[in-house]
Amino acid sequence: MDAPKAGTKLQEPTSGVEAIVVRPPSEAVLELQAGGNVALGKRYTCETCNAEVLVTKGGDGQIACHGATMVIAQPKTLPSSD
């Protein structure tokens, strides 16, 4: 299995959680799992490979990559430019 590309949609059927890949993982180890809780609109990042996903439907799920739960990404600090 190939690692998911940027823009790939991920779904977890039991929790209904959905997310899209913003920055792809280094290998095919990123997955949504039941349990935990993720919030709509939050970005989560892999501390090993720096992959990033955006949660498009929140719920009782979690996102794992490289054997660990992905953590909420740091907020962006760029000023608005348009």
């Binding site: 940027a6 760029l78 430019s81």
Partner: protein, 476 residues
Amino acid sequence: MANIAMLLDLAADAMGDRRAVGDLTYADVRRLAIAAAPDVAARARGTLAFADANCQAVPVALFAAAWAGVSYAPLNYRLPPAQQQALVDRLDTGYLVETDKAETWLDELRSRATDEPAPYPDETDHPAVLLFTSGTSSEPKAAVLDHDNLLAYILNAGDFMSAGEDEAVLMVVPPFHIAGVAGTLSSIYAGRRIVPLSKFTPEAWLEAARTEHVTHAFVVPTMLARIVAVMEDQGGVELPSLRTLSYGGARMPVPVLERALELFPNAGFVNAYGLTETSSTVALLGPEDHRTAMAGDRVRLASVGRPLPGIEVEVVDEDGNLVAPGDEGRIRIRGPQVSGEYVGVDGGVDPDGWLVTGDIGTVDEEGYLFVKGRADDVIIAGGENLSPGEIEDCLLRHPRVTGAAVVGVPDDEWGEQVAAMVTISGTISADDLIEWVRSQLGGLKAPKRIEVRDELPMTPTGKLLRREVRAELGSR
């Protein structure tokens, strides 16, 4: 890849009752876009064209196209009918929201909108947006922006729902400008209310900013010059709610920027450098950079700042090698938001993914980029390369000069010589202005001829039409 419809879908799910644009909430915009989508999909032949001014229908049209899986093509509504028709013909679209008809179109959508959810297509056969470039040097070309390009920009540049409920952005660049498209998408993703202004005048801009408690705004340099002039005329005008004033789309004359920084002491200024072909901003000079430059030697007020994270911006020589700090070269850009594609034209990015722009620039020791102008605009006089921008800034520092356009015109002895077209307030002779430039920059850069006009030829998005200036000054 994904679909930009996702951005509105997220906003409507998470903050459906918040006002998105004008009177419409995020839920309203989605409901109306979904109401339009089946008809758009059936009739559009791949493209929804939108030919009206800024109004609350703009995001509805943009997302109706996304939900229908067709391209959104905003057109210059100020073109004469025959020229507008020529663009419509080139696009071969079957769905046009006509000039002055957007509100009627919205009313019609309202009459059949329901709360029935409808999914958007994850994959589409058509690019997200087709945008005609400003055509300062040639016929306008339709730039192609894919869903991936636009999403890469939006997801990289900001955070979802990062705006407070009190934030509002004044949208005055027309819908057919890349900053209009990108600003609509980024405001919706951030949850920042859009205040559309259909026609720019400095008075209308100041009035809307004040009454709508606008916190954010983007202007092109010609707009800022006119806003500054009115504020200096009237005196005592303040916009206490304005937090961020961003500008871009053309080179900002430093004298105008300095006056604006003094008039808006509490606003953070952002210079955004980007192209239609790069889905908007690729480099920016932020508020702190402006403050530091203003307090120091001010050289960096002429900079467009540093690249966004994940974007590469380089200045290279003719062989593609990086130039030394301070040396001029061609600006090239690489990153997921870069398209570089045009309808019906070969090209785009090079095999390594670089978009080689037509812009000449330099980079300083700390990586700050300076855009010197279009390569085509460089004046070569007696073997010396002269940048029109430096001479224009010099003219604009004269208290009587309100606008300046400097070009090279053919000259038998020098190859080219410097000529200028200016707008002024009060009276001043051309000879006095030539002497002014000579005293500041020396004889080589002093125009040999200066003509005074009531206005300078501009595109509707505030870019100087140099080919017209050149044609007029070179023909006599």
